[in-house]
Subunit: 414 residues, 2 copies
């Protein structure tokens, strides 16, 4: 075709977990795929912390299927949640996973998976900020374009679903950092510490370029006592920043504070801090370009969730897997294809969005408090809630309405 | 509760294949269920022929799971389709199933499954014509009401989905009867004989109270040469009726006619004839009553299809199985439950409706004719089309658009 380029293979825009898991799966199916990324591998490996993520075991199993399970669970995994709910009568109780979760800093994780993709012959194009106009051009060169990044304004191609996007602004202001000087909980787990009405602290055992370190992710309610952590400038006075963090942990999160060696405590590196906020949103699964080509939304382009229950990466990975499976089964990229993709991933992706939105609602829903109270009394309830981090649609079966929570607790004899 | 009745168990309105397969599955799960039926078991076993149905192997496998597989496939099953497409250059070719289908007259089938249900302790209430008002009353006595009958006007509770219901009137006028005097095709199979532009004849080896007999199902295009078969009165002159049938088969369906022993040919019994017509329709999966209780549509209350590709009973059985599975997994009968049911069965039920509607479209879609032509040339294509009677969503993957048919044929090197 003179002057043109033949349409071939799948274009994946974005080199986050969504784009990489999709590309690796397509590669396994022998389907040609090109990743277009704003950043080079070296840029992915350096720079400011990208996010704080937990990969639950259902995601780890996908990593095993993809042959990218590089971090042994015995050393890098964690096994439970330690809950602490502050107040006049604090509640403290664990919840166990059926199988371990794992947290790896994405500046370690993403370059490693990208290397896997390239070593297996994958086509990676870096240094490309992809605009909506560029997506039209790519749609004419590829059999299908998948937008797997929330960056560059391309998410706006996919209309927001109002009924599934209840918030117009962030419900928490975030301060996430990697820290030294925090002893592991026992068994090794994530601590979810709630300080009503100020917000939550997630303490996550994580592996980074600095080795085994600890994420402190402060989820600060606007106007609350810890909100300052989202504004304080580390670079202006590192020691003052760390003192402020320590003080807030001491006052609001005693079950974490008791494991801190204050003499050793500190941010691992200046770039290991991320302050910001997220407005949760669920967007349509796809759009059809004026040239008739469909474009699929994946990961942050499709669903953005607050990190409070660590579901974003798992949603993206699940969604990538379902999309890749439909591509392999039915490579006819028309409206029926798009509707199949939507139907295949809706249950879990929507449950993750709905559940996470409930977890950050203010004031907290009475039936959520009822469930947390029941978890403190019955380890079986706490374990089921915890393992459901792998199966968010089951969590939402329990939490979608007060009647469902009551039925679940009645089933547990409560 | 004085004056009231405690809400308990599932109410199934209707004792057709949808209602019975659902009730038998719930029984297996230990979930209390009551069938409300207009007819007694004796009435189901007698009277006019109810319909002509084929149970494809995916449905047979559900019957095996339910422990109601009473008719050995070696004796009662059939193994292929024999296609005949009339015209100046007739086409004749077989298509094989991966595993056998089976056709049993429902006046034999339904009473036998009802007996299974009752022998296992099932609660069956006959003689009840259930009106919409009665459904409101039942909704207050049961945890959930399922409408599994198209009779009595209760379907109208469920709004028609216009985009999925393209016809406002029947596309074929039907004449279905059980006949003696037709030798089996070899291998034993269903003959699908097309006589453009007059319509189709389905010849189905069937077991009835009269033993092994043959269904002739004439699908008559209004205004065509065979339409008279939908109007002719058997009772006024049985011999004349049978001569008329013979003559139409001779003229339009030679591959069937050549197996008829005209001396023995005849309707098995006067009541073994059904003349009528079907307007295909797809309705919403559920409705919510003014009292807040949801009611689920199943079988004919949900989807009515023309019998031309023998999918109605299979759609109803599949839908019953998915519904029963969701009831067992998540017995919280709210809007989330209803949406789960809809999502779980949508792919196959909608594909059955869409595919069947394409098969009766006039004039025939060019890509359907293209596929039939390819089937006559390549046994692999014919076998795939035939086995897809078990997997209608795969059939619709091939037939949803001309582009899909072209891609499918290209995949087969055509």
């Amino acid at each position: 075709m003179p002057g043109g380029t033949e349409s071939s293979g799948i274009a994946v825009i974005g080199s986050g977990v969504a784009g990489l898991h999709l590309a690796l799966l397509l590669q396994r199916h022998g389907i040609p795929v090109t990743i277009y990324s704003e950043q080079t591998a070296a840029q992915l490996a350096s720079g400011r912390m990208l996010n704080t993520v937990a990969h639950h075991n259902t995601t780890v199993r996908r990593e095993q299927e993809l042959g990218v399970d590089h971090w042994e669970l015995a050393e890098y995994g964690y096994f439970c949640h330690h809950h602490y709910i502050g107040g006049p009568q604090p509640l403290s109780f664990p919840g166990a996973f059926g199988a371990p979760s794992r947290a790896i800093d994405y500046r370690v994780y993403l370059p490693r998976l990208l290397a896997d993709f390239q070593e297996r012959g994958g086509d990676f194009r870096a240094g490309q900020q992809v605009s909506p106009e560029e997506i039209v051009r790519l749609s004419e060169q590829h059999a299908l374009v998948v937008v797997a990044t929330g960056k560059g304004g391309v998410s706006a191609m996919f209309p927001v679903i109002p009924g599934k996007s209840p918030y117009s602004r962030p419900q928490r202001r975030l301060s996430a950092g990697l820290y030294h000087g925090i002893a592991r909980s026992e068994p090794k787990g994530v601590t979810m510490s709630v300080a009503p009405p100020h917000g939550e602290l997630l303490e996550i055992p994580t592996f980074s370029s600095e080795g085994h370190v600890t994420v402190l992710l402060f989820e600060n309610v606007p106007g609350g006592d810890t909100e300052v952590l989202a504004d304080a400038k580390y670079d202006e006075d590192p020691a003052a920043f760390e003192r402020l963090v320590l003080e807030k942990v001491r006052v609001h999160h005693p079950s974490v504070f008791e494991r801190i060696d204050t003499a050793r405590f500190g941010l691992t590196r200046p770039e290991d801090l991320l302050q910001g906020a997220v407005t949760p949103v669920l967007r349509e699964d796809y759009t059809v370009l004026p040239n008739g080509r469909p474009v699929i939304a994946l990961g942050d382009a499709h669903s953005v969730v607050d990190p409070v229950v660590g579901q974003g990466a798992n949603s993206a990975s699940y969604s990538a897997w379902e999309l890749g499976t439909v591509i392999a089964e039915d490579p006819n990229f028309d409206e029926r294809f798009c509707q199949k993709v939507a139907a295949r991933r809706a249950n879990r992706v929507q449950a993750i969005s709905d559940w996470t939105n409930l977890m950050i609602a203010l004031p907290p829903a009475p039936h959520l408090l009822q469930l947390l109270g029941a978890m403190s009394q019955d380890p079986a309830v706490a374990d089921e809630f915890t393992d459901n981090f792998n199966y968010p649609e089951r969590q939402w079966d329990i939490l979608a309405t007060p009647q469902r929570t009551a039925a679940f607790l009645a089933h547990h004899g409560m």
